[in-house]
Amino acid sequence: MSAAALGGRARGLFLALFAPVLFLIFWHYSTTGRAFSLIPPPLEVGKQLWDLAFGGVWNDLYSGTLLEHAFASVSRVYGGFLLAAACALPLGMLIGRVPLVRASLDPTLQLMRPIPVTAWLPLAMIVFGIGPTSAFFLVFLGAFYPILVNTIFGVRNVEPRLFEAAVMLGVSPSALFWKVVLPASLPSIFTGLRLGLGFAWVVIVVGEMTGVQTGLGAIIMEARQLSRTEIVISGMITIGLLGYLSDYAVQLIGKRLLRWSPQHG
């Protein structure tokens, strides 16, 4: 790497860190040493986060439990997401390519789409009871629509010219789906998967606030009732980091898979 490129990277890193460092300083000076601050100072939160992750500071009920809660949330997020993808991808392709399926399913799905995922929560609790199944269902629902909508959009918006080119070169009509439709709609499908996964992370917290024993959403809610605000913030930070890492991983996969696309490669 050249010196200029290195300088560019250092500059990028500096600019990226500028705002959060400024925020930390502001947070520190507006909370430290104030007896009745509702928000704990950053150092307290840092200490708590360490204790949650590794224990050895407070040695209470929460010490060293972070991994367990994070694992519970991650498995629900990916479980719900994968199930949503398994349903939404084939369904979206059928709705996009088969007029009969589109005519019979699309209006219903479009009518249900404006219902916010959170509005499903009470119904989910009635049907699935209070527990992880409701959270799992909400994650599924949250990821389902972005994947579905983008898949439909992708398979419906294949450039007609590409079909002409493919038939002219000798592709049989039955092979058009695999040879043209699927690769052409991959960028859009990928956008759907990425949005769906992001949404899954948003919804998991709401899902876990309903009497689930484990999970990051669960400890955030429980800690609020116990006035352990440091734990609330520690949980938030963990969710943010996990969501970021998960999106980063998805983007890396996308860059490899969509090298050919000027928007992704």
Binding site: R161, L162, E164, A165, L169, K179, P183, A184, W260, S261
Partner: protein, 253 residues
């Protein structure tokens, strides 16, 4: 009536479209016979039906009246024997240059060693050896059109249909591609039907120029170009022809 070397017989072909409830005649009673190995240019103003005729030969449009035959057999759906080069390239953006060129043979189930051979031969022929692993979005317009040409050649097309293939390119690139296409044509002895609205391009390339007119679209003239190749656009005979076709096509050319 049909000579053995007639590859395409276009007999009293009419094409009508439905447009907002009304019937539009895109092409009226066109008849044309094209011999194997001929380089034919279809020229005319927009709306003269030249692209429609080309797309009917390609099998992309149905014929309303009349007959279209290739080797005395009626033309149906699009197929590898009639390779089309589109003005907007129509390359598969998710495939590399090499994979685009090998797409046809691979789709038709040729053995992979043969596909690789064919691909290399035609990528080399259009001068894109160094770009074999590039994706279409990384190429210039001229390079993309080279890929599109190599793609139909690699697929063993007998007739190459070209719909204003160089219309979107800058003047310099267009000249280079015209020369290259002529070289390839002379080497392969393919039959080329080339749609254009540029008189000079037609005179430079064609054995025969078919002049078309609009309202409704029809064939008004069919002339041989008897200038020896390579042709010099500044020569008196070239200019004489240019004036003749300009007059035929109206003063705006």
């Amino acid at each position: 009536m049909a000579e053995p070397l007639n590859i395409l017989d276009i007999t009293h072909v009419t094409k009508r479209f439905d447009f907002q409830g009304k019937q539009i005649v895109a092409l009226q009673d066109a008849s044309l016979t094209i011999r194997k190995g001929e380089f034919v240019c279809l020229i005319g103003p927009s709306g003269c039906g030249k692209s429609t005729l080309l797309r009917m030969i390609g099998g992309f449009e149905t014929v309303s009246e009349g007959r279209l035959d290739m080797w005395s057999k009626q033309i149906g759906k699009p197929g590898p024997d009639r390779g089309m080069v589109f003005q907007d390239y129509g390359l598969f953006p998710w495939l590399t240059v090499a994979k685009n060129v090998g797409f046809g043979p691979a789709a038709r189930g040729r053995p992979s060693a043969e596909v690789a051979d064919t691909t290399k031969r035609f990528v080399d022929m259009v001068g894109l050896t160094r770009f074999a692993e590039a994706y279409p979005h990384q190429l210039s317009g001229g390079m993309k059109q080279r890929v599109a040409i190599a793609r139909v050649l690699a697929n063993e097309a007998e007739v190459v249909l070209m719909d204003e293939p160089f219309g979107a390119l800058d003047a310099m690139t267009r000249e280079n591609l015209q020369t290259e296409l002529l070289e390839i044509w002379e080497r392969t002895k393919l039959t080329v039907i080339f749609v254009t609205h540029a008189i000079e391009e037609a005179i430079l390339m064609a054995d025969r120029i078919v002049v078309m007119s609009s309202g409704p679209g029809r064939i008004v003239a069919d002339e041989r170009v008897d200038i020896a190749r390579p042709r010099d656009p500044t020569s008196p005979e070239f200019n004489a022809l240019r004036r003749r076709f300009s007059a035929m096509l109206g003063s705006h050319h």
